[in-house]
Structure formats: structure tokens, C-alpha cells
Symmetry: C2
Subunit: 283 residues, 2 copies
């Protein structure tokens, strides 16, 4: 009894605040996200030990090696990423390991040697109300005042041409490789936005609406929504598609995530680390 | 007995050559393709009546409405297409019909009213030896002399930079929206080509090879092979990716298909009808 008391006493004397682990940060996210946490989900740890004490948090759109290196260089060892780390939606690494893939191995080794932890925040950040990505992208475009109060995906903007809209979006979001389908001279006011790669079923549903003339997306297979809008243009229907590429179509939604995280994590520095766009266009 | 004989006689007197139906053309393709015809396959009729007498054949990369209209205008009622007609790999139309989709309905009505027949030629044209798409694309690039005799996907080209290769491919294939990942100044001679959207597993396998520095593809989700090559570039590995967009990455393979078809179908005119690229790039 005496020994036990001494032990407890010594614990309480030497213990400062327990270190904030990666798992504790995720627990706090789950508590604050405002919707039930449901499984299966891709919102899981992708690399590193969840019990690692966190020195700082880098929030990003895509945990490319470049992003992870920049996070490590600034002393942040927890990377919260919207998109995959290992080149597939499920972050399956079995095949890459089996073939001793050199690109994967070097990334995995960097994460291990620098005691980094990578956790994905995709499904629940979208499901949150409002959708965190949609909210951040609307803010980045400055479109809050044009947003439909009953449907956050819909906007009524001042009349412009498709070409005008495309240029404006390209410059506001600093997009390298924006591609457009539709008549550049088409006049429009009614725009919908579905960031990322939500799939052609929901994209086509959106384009079927009378109150949607142009749809902004990240990407989609070219034999799906792209062919659909090409046909719509042949039929002289008032429809257009803007493919922003994936990173710039959602990136500002993770900048918003970093802002939100700071409202309930104050022990460590939190920084939004933008992922670089991978593309360039040849002459 | 007398009546039956008269009937037979009258049949044989009035019958000229039986008309070449769409089904008969496909039967002849199956007989000539040089590999066993295996099911399930997407190489099936997508619209129209297989018993329609064929007035001419339009061979195309993608049966967009624009292509179908141009085929009809030139009197060709059988369209042989490499890619889907109705916006999904399986050409499923149930949802489009249920929602009375206006874009689909107008395309479907045009096909019906003009008695057009659309048949897809994808799986077996690829599986043929040599792969008909790979063969046609190699010809379009003028790369026969650089091709590895033991692997039609591999080429050793005269030394150039990635930027030089990208410009050359862009101009040879007249590509509107070619996107590149990798260091533009990287010098290279070893190139691989996997036209279309063959999937990241086979693309990454190709990029793992020591004898592949740059890979030409049609398209891929940006969180797959695109992120992989972006990471490879961060690791200063000698790897690059050229995304040609889907249509120009396979189109010449269907021009080759039209040439091939003429070697065993001579009753009706056969024309290659190039699908227009859907994209434009804003300023």
C-alpha cells in the first residue's frame, strides 16, 4: 500500500501534460467533425505509428513526397491528407512491396526514417455539413454571395461567357492545366461545382438540371462525362464542363480544414501545405 | 409439290446477292481477327438492328453524336467504335432512360430515325497480335524503326529532352491538351507507350522497368500514376509521364482498323471518321 502510493505520487509529480499523439489528434477530429464516424472509410492511418507524439501538423490535399518532405523540414510530423499517399484510393501497397518498387520504397523510407505519420481525411470532411471541401472552394472562388442557400453546389453568377468563366476560374485557382468542353462563346449564369472525382453518375445528374449550364469538376474518365458534354454541345444544348484537374479543384478545401483544426488543436503548430500541381503543358 | 417448286424457283430467280447486314460484317470481323472470340466482352452492338443492310461503314475512335451524324451524312449506316457510345464502359442506358436524359434521348433518337447501327470493337482489336491500336499509333508517330522487336510497347528513340519529346508527340498527333509530369529538361531515349486508359497497375509496372524513362498514355486518375510519377520526379528518378488525352492516344489505331477492314469487306464503302477532341484550353 505504501509502495503503491509512493509510485502514484512519483508519477503525478514527474508527469507533465501527456504528449499529444497522432491518435489523440484523430480522436479529437472525430469528436469535432459533427457527424457520426462510420466505417468502412478511407479515413485511416496510411503510414507511421499512431502513438507518435505530434510535433506539428501539416494539412494537405495530397501527401506527395514533396509535401511530406516540406512538412518534415518545418518540424511537423503528422500529415493530414485528403487524397491517397500510395497511388490508389485504398492505399494498397502489397503489389508495390512485392515488386520492390523504387519510387514507393524511397517514399516509405523517408516517412519511416523521419518518424512521420500520415492520416487521410476524405470521407468525413466531405460528409460534414457543410462539406468542408465545397466550403473552402467556394471561399477561394469568392462565390459565397452567388451560392444557392438550399444547395451549396449551385451558384448564380453575373452573366459571362464560358471562355470568361474558364479564364476567371483558372486565374483565381492558379490552375496549370484547366480543360474545357463546350462552346467558348456560350453565355451563362448558372454554374454547379462538384470538386474532385465524384463520378459521372452524379455529374450527369447535375448536368440534367435546367438550372445548371456549366459544371466545374476535378477530373473524370474521358469516355464518361466528357463525351456526354461533347454530345450536349453537338445538340446545341446549353451545357459545358470545366475540368480543373484534381488538386486545384479541392485544395482550398484542405486550407479550410487547417483553419478548422486550429479551433480545437492548440498544443502544436498547424500549417496548410499546398500540394504542387504535377502537370505542365508543352508548346 | 408443284406450288413449292414454283416458290423456290421464284425465290432463286429474284434473289441477287443477299444484302450485307451489320451482323454479317461482325461475323466476318470475328473470322478475320486471328484470335478466339471470347465473352464476356464489350465488343457488342450498342444501338440499332444487327439485321440492317449496311450501306457503308464508318470506323471511329469514339461514337460521339458528331461522328454518327457525319457517318449518316455520308451514307454510312454502320459505325464501328473503339470507345463507348453512351458514357460508360458498359454502355448502360437504364439510368439515362429513367431520368429521361435529354442528351441521351436526342442521340438515341438520331440513331433510331436514321436507322444507324453502332457496334463496339475494343477488346479483340487490342488483343489481336499485333495489338491494332498499338500498331496504328506506332505508325502515326513514325516510330516503327525505334520499336523493340520483342515488345511492341517499347521504343528507343534518338536522344531528346522530355520537353522535346512532348512537343514532337503533340504536333505529330495534333493534340490539344497534352499534359506532362516530370522534369522538362530530362534527357531520354527510352520510351514506352500504353495508349488509352489501361490502368495504373500496368502503367506503374512499365515505369518500374529500367528501360523505360518516359511513358505515353491516354489518361489515368490523377491520384494514381500521376502522383507516382510526381513522387519519382521528387526523388530525381529518371521517369516521366505524358498524358495524351484519350482520343488522340488511340485514334490512329482505329484508322488502322479501317485499313484492315477493307482487306475483307469490299461490298460497301469504308471510311475512317476521326472523333473530334472535346477539349480546349482557356487563356
Amino acid at each position: 500500500m505504501v509502495a503503491a502510493s509512493l509510485f502514484l505520487c512519483s508519477l503525478s509529480l514527474s508527469a507533465q501534460e501527456p504528449p499529444l499523439t497522432a491518435q489523440a489528434v484523430i480522436d479529437r477530429i472525430q469528436k469535432n467533425v459533427g457527424i457520426p464516424w462510420t466505417t468502412p472509410t478511407v479515413d485511416t492511418f496510411k503510414a507511421g505509428d499512431p502513438n507518435t507524439p505530434v510535433t506539428g501538423i501539416a494539412v494537405t490535399m495530397m501527401a506527395t513526397l514533396d509535401v511530406i518532405q516540406r512538412a518534415a523540414a518545418s518540424g511537423k510530423n503528422l500529415v493530414i491528407t485528403h487524397e491517397p499517399t500510395f497511388y490508389s484510393h485504398m492505399d494498397q501497397t502489397a503489389e508495390l512491396e512485392q515488386s520492390h518498387d523504387a519510387v514507393f520504397s524511397e517514399k516509405e523510407a523517408f516517412i519511416r526514417e523521419h518518424h512521420m505519420v500520415v492520416w487521410r481525411f476524405h470521407d468525413h470532411w466531405h460528409r460534414r455539413n457543410p462539406d468542408g471541401i465545397q466550403f473552402g472552394m467556394t471561399h477561394a472562388l469568392g462565390w459565397e454571395k452567388f451560392q444557392d442557400p438550399s444547395n451549396a453546389h449551385l451558384f448564380t453568377i453575373p452573366e459571362t461567357t464560358l471562355d470568361g468563366l474558364a479564364s476567371s476560374v483558372k486565374h483565381k485557382l492558379d490552375i496549370v492545366a484547366l480543360r474545357v468542353v463546350g462552346d467558348p462563346r456560350m453565355k451563362l449564369t448558372k454554374v454547379a461545382m462538384l470538386p474532385g472525382a465524384g463520378g459521372s453518375a452524379s455529374q450527369i445528374k447535375m448536368l440534367e438540371r435546367d438550372d445548371v449550364e456549366a459544371l466545374l469538376i476535378g477530373e473524370v474518365p474521358e469516355w464518361e462525362t466528357v463525351e456526354y458534354v461533347a454530345d450536349a454541345a453537338t445538340e446545341h444544348k446549353h451545357k459545358a464542363l470545366l475540368l480543373l484537374t484534381h488538386i486545384p479543384s479541392e485544395q482550398a478545401g484542405m486550407e479550410e480544414c487547417a483553419r478548422w483544426l486550429k479551433t480545437f488543436v492548440s498544443e502544436v503548430p498547424i500549417e496548410f501545405v499546398p500540394a504542387r500541381q504535377p502537370f505542365w503543358l508543352p508548346k
